[in-house]
Amino acid sequence: MTMERRNFLKLLGAGAATVGLAGCATKPVQYVGGRKVVVVGGGYGGTIAAKYVRMMDPSIEVTLIERNDHYISCPFSNLYLGGILPNLSSLTIKYDKLATNYGIKVVQAEVTGIDAASHSVMTSKGVFQYDRLVVSPGIDFRIEEIKGYNPEIMPHAWKAGPQTMLLRKQLEAMKPGGTVVLSIPLAPFRCPPGPYERTSMIAMYLKQHKPGSKIIVLDANPDIVSKKGLFLKGWKKHYEGIVDYRPAKKVTEVDNNKMTVLVEGLEEIKGDVINVIPPQKAGQIAHAAGLVGPDKKWCPINPTTFESTLLKDIHVIGDSSIAGAMPKSGYSANSEAKVCATNIVAVMNSREITEMSAVNTCYSFLSAKEAVSVTGVYRVNKEQNVIEAAPGSVGVSPDLSELEAVYAESWIKNILTEMSS
């Protein structure tokens, strides 16, 4: 026993010494691996990771694997529900320009598995080898936590596309004087202010097109998760008597025939249109690959490189990752992708990696012409090795703002352009 312990400590000591040496070395590790990067997922994170690796080092081969031939932005999709956008076309990107302009190999395929040991990604179109893999799969739903859940009847519309269109059709078909029920899951979920923006946009639609209707918001959280004061102000200003916000109401069960939801299995609430946003977890492929941590929901990462702490040479960015103080937003995914790409390129060129610096800016619309924002600049807290906000950089707008709505329009234009050309 003593012997074993001593051996163990010896091993540990040797390990620590080696590691310590590498840590203090002035010269970074000489990279001897190949130059193939594969990116899984063509959304806010994946497109940017692929593009920035190629922008910074065209000698690296980049393959972007995405199941669809297009991507529809979740940010701004609430504006379609509110009737501000006539359709989702302005929020839809394709990958052809990204492929041509940056020499990215875009493959439309379903990823079926990832094998870290053999550095391979299995897909419906064959196996792809990588030296570094970036996984950016967004979210999936913990539907098992809502008994009876059927998104075809009670859409989540939390991945933009057919679900968003279904919810809008249901709103259009609803009779005046009807009730919309919106259920918000416990945080963390994709886009913290999103459910409250959706509340505002649906309320605006009801006010304009369905007189006498209301929206009951059942929030599993004890309070509004993001921009609370501003949303309350906007609802009072524009949607008094339309928005009925109820905190600490966790939906656990639904009845698709009766069109009801059950709060904690007890309190039954009926709706003509029911928008259930289920609790969330990392994208399915992250689970299949073994990238998900002990919480069984999200992926732990090294905050400087976004490399998985569980599997070597695989990086996880965007909603799926545990990115400390950074919210699960499109802008965060964009910024994380650049941090990750920068350091992958550094490693592949035997250069020292760089400390991360990232930004988040999220706009939410309260009415057709007013928006509010939340911002943050992020860095690594070296003592705790977690991502924290730079002091003073996190904050919300002082008031509802028409100018911020104008800037928000330019934000979506810039970020979708960055992702697609």
Binding site: A16, T304, T305, Y331, T342, E352, T354, G392, L403, I412
Partner: protein
């Protein structure tokens, strides 16, 4: 034995992670790429109300970020974001954007207003905004080729007193009418690549 090994691996893992924190301070690219979500790739804005930062004057960029940070210049999001950066980081970003090729947006503009704007510029602006706004004197920004919408917002903020001006600028523009401000916005937006 088994337990000890897994314990060792865990510890080793933790050490690897802390080593990753040994990294160079954020490079100018690391800092500046984070701005692109709103200001466009390398500061070339694709959004009509958002300024391009590509090719911007270094002094102007630094002054602007610092005045956002102190609250001296009124802002929407930039007052908060600027607080996240040190003087050194702001200077690094200024270097990065100053090095980028300027982007000329060619916004749809009104030719009659462009002509009028040229006359206004010759009278009131060109001593600081040199070469039709493509070059600058001292701390003035490069304004040529910015989006019309962005220029209109700024002109309105200057003329309405929301955005403060230097004494020199205030003196030069004090005779300008609303129509003059609008015309000069069209003039600068109309500028094409040198």
């Amino acid at each position: 034995m088994r337990i000890k090994w897994s314990g060792f691996i865990l510890l080793a893992g933790a050490l690897t992670v802390s080593v990753a924190a040994h990294a160079a301070p954020p490079s100018m690219e690391m800092l500046s790429n984070a701005c692109a979500g709103c200001h466009g790739v390398h500061g070339a804005s694709a959004g009509p109300s958002m300024p391009s930062l590509a090719g911007q004057s270094k002094i102007f960029f630094i002054n602007t970020m610092k005045s956002f940070r102190s609250g001296e210049r009124e802002a929407t999001v930039m007052g908060r974001l600027a607080k996240g950066y040190t003087d050194e980081q702001i200077a690094a970003m200024a270097d990065f954007f100053a090095k980028q090729k300027p982007e000329y947006q060619h916004t749809a503009i009104n030719p009659a207003l462009v002509a009028k704007g040229k006359a206004v510029s010759d009278k009131a602006c060109k001593r600081c905004h040199l070469e039709n706004g493509k070059e600058f004197e001292e701390d003035a920004p490069v304004v040529a080729g910015q989006w019309l919408k962005y220029l209109q917002i700024q002109m309105a903020e200057f003329s309405g007193g929301k955005r403060k001006m230097s004494e020199k600028k205030a003196e030069n523009v004090k005779q300008l009418s609303q129509a003059d401000w609008e015309a000069v916005a069209h003039f600068y937006a109309s500028q094409k690549q040198k």
